[in-house]
């Protein structure tokens, strides 16, 4: 169904929903925005072209969480799986919503499903806000996504100035919007025009066709040394990435808990073995792993690209490394001979 949500009714609408749901929406923290619980005092940040700085995956897969508690003396163990909670994530961007569906393939499919992910995911509605002004660092149109991509969303909002054009995408959120006035054909046309214009403002930076094969071919080539030369080896690109899911399990001996923390293949210690052997000893191998995982291995694991083009890694890389340029260079690098010329 299609509805119109006047902007001046937004806060009262959210307040009404908040009786039944806890609502998470982007709000300003200093210079950036972050998903925070909506309260009567909240001021939403929906106009900023930039996405929230911290990725929305954290709402389902927090950076640090206790997975079990133990008592070393009694030997008692206790699982710390969370309770499912009715939540609405309001204003999530399409790239982040798509990323959540990508992470479903890791945590919610096949054997050994992750109860932590499932509990947070089951009753959480994703109400997305399309990007009518995509940023120059965004590249969702190149990554099987787009500024108004609907994958993973329960509803999608299009900013039409005074009103949001709402398109519901799943049965389960229909009741939330049923009191709103339905959108007419004219408004839908305006919305489509806004969506098309946004899409057009973001031309593709690379074609995905054959990119996996091209990258697989250059796996052991020198290009990775060149691409990773200025890399600092920090965790920004992976921690801010909405699809990176690597984690570490650590015993906090002083608390008696085993916690799960985000981890990143960009750290030296990530792959360092107790014998001191490190299969990825330099930034060259680590950078390669990050890019190959997203642009080659994901396809084999899940049949999908592991990047949604949100642009966070481009925007916040402290040395200005741009994954778009890196992928382009790597996939264009066919042979050492060509490089020498």
């Amino acid at each position: 169904m299609k509805y119109l949500l006047p902007k001046n009714e937004l806060y009262s609408r959210l307040a009404r929903w908040s009786a039944e749901y806890s609502i998470l929406a982007p709000q300003k923290v200093g210079e950036y925005s972050e998903f925070l619980p909506f309260t009567a005092q909240s001021e939403l940040c929906l106009q900023e072209p930039h996405n929230t700085r911290y990725p929305a995956k954290a709402l389902f897969f927090p950076q640090s969480e206790t997975i079990l508690k133990y008592n070393r003396i009694s030997g008692q163990l206790e699982s710390a799986a969370p309770e499912s909670q009715k939540r609405i994530v309001f204003g999530i961007r399409p790239c982040d919503a798509k990323a959540v569906t990508l992470l479903d393939t890791v945590f919610a499919e096949g054997d050994n499903q992750d109860p932590f992910w499932l509990a947070r995911r089951a009753e959480t509605f994703l109400i997305g806000l399309g990007c009518h002004e995509p940023c120059a660092t965004c590249f969702c149109t190149s990554t099987e996504s787009g500024p108004f991509h609907t994958e993973g969303l329960d509803a999608l909002l299009t900013d039409l100035g005074e009103v949001f054009f709402v398109e519901t995408l799943s049965e389960r959120v229909e009741a939330l919007f049923s009191e709103l006035s339905p959108a007419e054909a004219a408004q839908q046309e305006i919305a489509l025009a806004v969506q098309a214009a946004a899409e057009k403002s973001l031309p593709k930076v690379f074609e995905l066709d054959g990119i996996k094969e091209k990258l697989d071919r250059v796996f052991d080539k020198e290009i990775w040394a060149e691409l990773s030369q200025s890399c600092l080896g920090c965790g920004i690109c992976t921690f801010l990435c909405p699809t990176c899911f690597c984690f570490d399990l650590v015993d906090e001996a002083q608390r008696g808990t085993r916690v799960r923390n985000w981890d990143t293949c960009m750290y030296r210690v990530y792959s360092l073995e107790a014998s001191a052997h490190n299969p990825r000893p330099t930034r060259r191998e680590r950078t390669r792993q990050r890019l190959m995982h997203k642009y080659s291995y994901w396809w084999e694991h899940a049949g999908k690209l592991g990047c949604t083009g949100c642009g966070r890694c481009v925007r916040y890389c402290p040395v200005g490394l741009d994954i778009r340029a890196m992928i382009k260079k790597a996939s264009a690098y066919e042979s050492e001979a060509q490089h020498a010329n």
Partner: protein, 287 residues
């Protein structure tokens, strides 16, 4: 869309107790732990899934988890055996455990050896160092009278740096008396009173030259040994589909989620640790 939040916590270990703990090597870097189950249900669940070649995550609470290959066969009894090399903080803590101590275990994890595919074949088992532990489990499994008819000839080649580092000495000594298998042991440098092979495993393999006819070769050992043994087997005529090895990498979850043991399209913990050489050749050289 995920719908079922009531799945069990796969990171929660099952409680275990140390039944026996003894050193395997004279330098005290290798220690064998035999663990018994605290709960009957856990024991039933474990043996329902268990297959030689699989591994478990052993937990020492406060220190963390360490992935270790199972070194016992199911018929040996209601316990699970591991041989632990003292290396990092967790294995050090494992070495400090005494009979009666409790610890956690998750598993069995991974695929294990494809025993069903090997039915009727001759087995050439080649191991080096403490990585022999899972091959010991395999050999024990095959030796059982019920399983023995499923396989043809059984040849075991086991190398260690010195006689002091040879594991499961008593039992292996008894294998020389068996008429249903061949056992070859090797150490790297000559020692007094050692009347078996001397030399590196790849060379010993070339010397023994097991026949590739209707055979599979299983190689587990330190990376350097594996690296040179695989080509030795290829040159003996074993096709890559008939050579198997077990990989190791740093692991955390053991469930194909934490990303750490990723190598190309595979996760060693979930899709392995046992791979055929043919499968390995298709993976990127990221190990």
């Amino acid at each position: 869309m995920p719908t079922n939040p009531s799945v069990p916590n796969p990171y929660l270990p099952t409680p275990m107790r140390v039944l026996r703990a003894y050193f395997e090597s004279t330098d005290r870097t290798l220690k064998t732990l035999e663990l018994s189950f605290e709960n009957l249900a856990d024991k039933i669940a474990f043996f329902k899934k268990f297959n030689p070649g699989q591994f478990c995550q052993l937990s020492v609470f406060g220190k963390g988890e360490s992935p270790l290959g199972v070194a016992s066969a199911a018929w040996e009894g209601d316990f699970v055996r591991f041989t632990v090399q003292r290396m990092g903080s967790v294995t050090k803590a494992l070495h400090e455990l005494k009979p009666g101590d409790t610890l956690g275990m998750r598993g069995p994890l991974g695929n294990g050896f494809p025993l069903a595919d090997w039915k009727g074949k001759n087995l050439v088992i080649i191991g080096g160092g403490c990585a022999f532990s899972t091959l010991y489990a395999l050999t024990k499994h095959v030796q059982h009278p019920q399983n023995r008819p499923d396989f043809g000839q059984l040849t075991v080649i086991y190398g260690a740096r010195s006689s002091g580092l040879c594991m499961y000495k008593h039992d292996i000594q008894s294998w020389y008396q068996r008429d249903d298998m061949e056992i070859h042991q090797a150490i790297d440098v000559p020692e007094e009173n050692w009347d078996h092979h001397v030399g590196y495993v790849p060379d010993v393999v070339r010397q023994i030259a097991p026949s590739p006819d209707n055979a599979v070769a299983i190689v587990c050992g330190p990376p350097i040994m594996t690296k040179f043994t695989l080509p030795a087997l290829v040159s003996l005529g074993f096709p890559p589909e008939a050579i198997f090895t077990s990989l190791e990498k740093r692991m955390k979850c053991g469930l194909g989620k934490c990303g750490r043991c990723n190598i190309g399209s595979k996760y060693i913990c979930k899709d392995g640790p046992v791979f055929s050489l043919a499968e390995l050749n298709a993976l990127p050289a990221d190990i």
